[in-house]
């Protein structure tokens, strides 16, 4: 019998530490599939962020480093400028990219660094126990917005793709989601396109992936994909921004 579905070579055959229903595993897999499809496993260098995805280096089966919180785009810049022949991507969460690392992401994008950022936006801090993220929705309850996020106290959810797409250094910016099989396939295509932009030496590419965190949105895995699809996409519309 011929197998029709296999684990990608770029993904190690190990269990992940992610909670049930978490979207990180899907995004890890999409990256691994893309790296395999494009024949990049021996050229790619990944950067894992601080946050839930820090252990990504235990799951991908290619060269990976870790960066201090928010500094992924700066580390990626140092790697890519030293070794332009490698394909360099950074994996960032919402706290990493849109809070502590806003300076690094804006300036790497504005310099038009030929790197790729995969930005996983799940609306909440996971690793530290469910605090408000810069992308937390208004009225969303977190451990630091216990009555719900209120604009007057906590500001608005930050729209990273919209913000970055106005910069001339950004070649490609798309927001996708992994809340349904159809959207997962779209996300896969976007990640491939982002890597292609880098291969073609065109400049900075970013894919924002809306993802579910059932644990800290207080929902079941089934409810959480529904919430991402119906609620999060209102605040963070899917599509190509550039």
């Amino acid at each position: 019998m011929e197998p029709i579905f296999l684990k990608p070579n770029s993904l190690r055959d190990v269990n992940t530490h992610y909670c049930a229903g978490c979207g990180h595993g899907i995004v890890h897999r999409l990256i691994a599939e893309t790296v395999d499809d494009m024949g990049l496993r021996e050229r790619v260098i990944g950067i894992a962020p601080v946050g839930c995805a820090v252990l990504a280096y235990d799951y991908w089966d290619f060269d990976v480093t870790e960066a201090a919180h928010g500094r992924v785009p700066a580390v990626a810049t140092g790697i890519k400028r030293s070794r332009p022949e490698n394909i360099v991507f950074g994996y960032q969460g919402d706290g990493d990219l849109a809070a502590i690392g806003t300076a690094e992401i804006i300036h790497a994008a504005n310099r038009g660094e030929n790197i790729t950022i995969i930005f996983v936006n799940n609306s909440v801090y996971g690793m530290t126990g469910g605090q408000m993220a810069p992308t937390t929705m208004l009225k969303q309850k977190t451990s630091t917005t216990q009555s719900g996020r209120e604009q007057k106290l906590h500001g608005f959810p930050l729209k990273a793709c919209e913000l970055l797409s106005v910069l001339p250094g950004v070649v490609y910016a798309e927001r996708v989601s992994v809340h349904s099989p159809q959207n997962v396939l779209k996300a896969r295509r976007a990640i491939k396109k982002a890597f292609q932009v880098q291969l073609d030496e065109k400049g900075f590419s970013i894919v924002e992936v809306l993802s579910q965190c059932p644990t800290y949105t207080g929902l079941s895995p089934k409810e959480s994909v529904k919430w991402v699809g119906e609620e999060m996409t209102k605040q963070f519309p899917l599509g190509i921004f550039k």
Partner: protein, 351 residues
């Protein structure tokens, strides 16, 4: 060999290039601005990378990225900027990545001023950032010594896989002196010897560079290994210069710019027949403890002179295990001790 007249900051930048540095990232801050300016012009000429980063934090993290690909990488700044780099230095130490960090010190705390100072001694020699780590600290006292110590800094960083700091001050960075430079800018391709770098897993197993060690006892084990490395450095890499160690009754202890003033003091007082000497630590970490302790036979008193309110003086006391009195004279916030002031202080103590 060629003799040139340059300012200290430019000598440092050219020496780095000659030592094989091919990646520099920095952010402007006085009094070290000649370093990024020089690098911006020189790096493209030798096929290297210059980046003016958006912050000191970003600059040190770019160096982190370049270093993990095997490049000889450097960043430079001055006191307030070095405070910002501490996070990155701790990660470099935790990931065992080589890098050279230059601090051309100015007055502090806070924004302080832009005058020369030595008040970052604690920060430099105690680690500065979080965690159980050390960095090698080298303190040149002349522009010619900047040439030698910059090369040494890159060699030590690579051999021990750790950050090395060159600690100068605004005076050393700004002043001009003739220096002799080698003609060739080519050195060994160091990346070829590094079997731990990330360059894509072609024909080998994938590598991971990280400092997160969550396993039971894993971090403790790692830190013990770091300590072993640090102990080896303490045994092998102490550097200092001693003037009149054999018969001095009063021993001055000073590094960098201040040691030059103290050298003049020694000359003047020796001409008067006074038995005064000088210990000049070149490596501030590891500190020349044994070398100082060996002097406690004939030396009756030590006088530490610094452009700070008294920081290295603690290491002198620890080094000689308080076997003899240790005095301190310092000027802070941009003040530079004069020969007359130091002589007056010596007379107060000894004569």
């Amino acid at each position: 060999m060629k003799k040139v007249l340059m300012c200290g900051n430019e000598v440092l930048a050219e020496s780095a290039i000659m030592a094989g540095c091919r990646f520099y990232a920095g952010y402007p801050i006085t009094p070290q601005n000649e370093i990024p300016a020089y690098m911006s012009r020189r790096m493209p000429e030798v096929g290297g990378v210059f980046i003016q980063a958006e912050s000191e934090i970003s600059a040190v993290n770019m160096v982190f990225g370049a270093s993990l690909t095997g490049a000889r990488a450097m960043t430079s700044s001055s006191s307030p900027g070095i405070s910002l780099k501490q996070e990155g230095i701790s990660y470099l130490a935790g990931c065992e990545l080589p890098a050279v960090i230059v601090n051309i010190m100015r007055g502090g705390p806070g924004l302080g001023n832009i005058a020369p100072s030595q008040s970052d001694y604690f920060q430099a020699t105690r680690g500065g950032g979080h965690g159980d780590y050390r960095q090698i600290v080298l303190a040149p006292a002349s522009l010619q010594e900047i040439v030698d110590l910059t090369t040494l800094a890159f060699d030590l960083a690579d051999s021990y896989r750790m950050p090395v700091m060159i600690l100068g001050d605004g005076l050393l960075g700004q002043m001009m002196e003739p220096v002799v430079l080698a003609d060739s800018v080519e050195r060994i391709a160091y990346s070829a010897k590094k079997d731990w770098i990330l360059d894509g897993c072609k024909g080998r197993k994938p590598r991971i560079i990280k400092s997160l060690l969550l396993g039971n006892g894993e971090l403790e084990q790692f830190n013990e290994r770091l300590q072993k490395k640090y102990n080896e450095i303490k045994n092998k890499e102490v550097r200092c210069e001693i003037l009149h160690g054999e018969d001095s009754k009063l021993m001055l202890v000073a590094y960098g710019t201040v040691s030059r003033i103290c050298r003049k003091v020694v000359k003047t007082l020796r001409e008067e027949g006074k038995k005064v000497g000088l210990v000049r630590p070149v490596s501030l970490w590891p500190f020349p403890e044994k070398e100082l302790r060996a002097l406690t036979g004939n030396v009756e008193r030590f006088l530490t002179v610094e452009m700070s309110c008294g920081q290295m003086v603690e290491d002198v006391k620890l080094g000689i295990e308080c076997k003899k009195p240790v005095h301190f004279y310092g000027r802070s916030g941009g003040g530079v001790p004069t020969e007359e002031e130091i002589i007056k202080e010596i007379e107060k103590i000894m004569y």
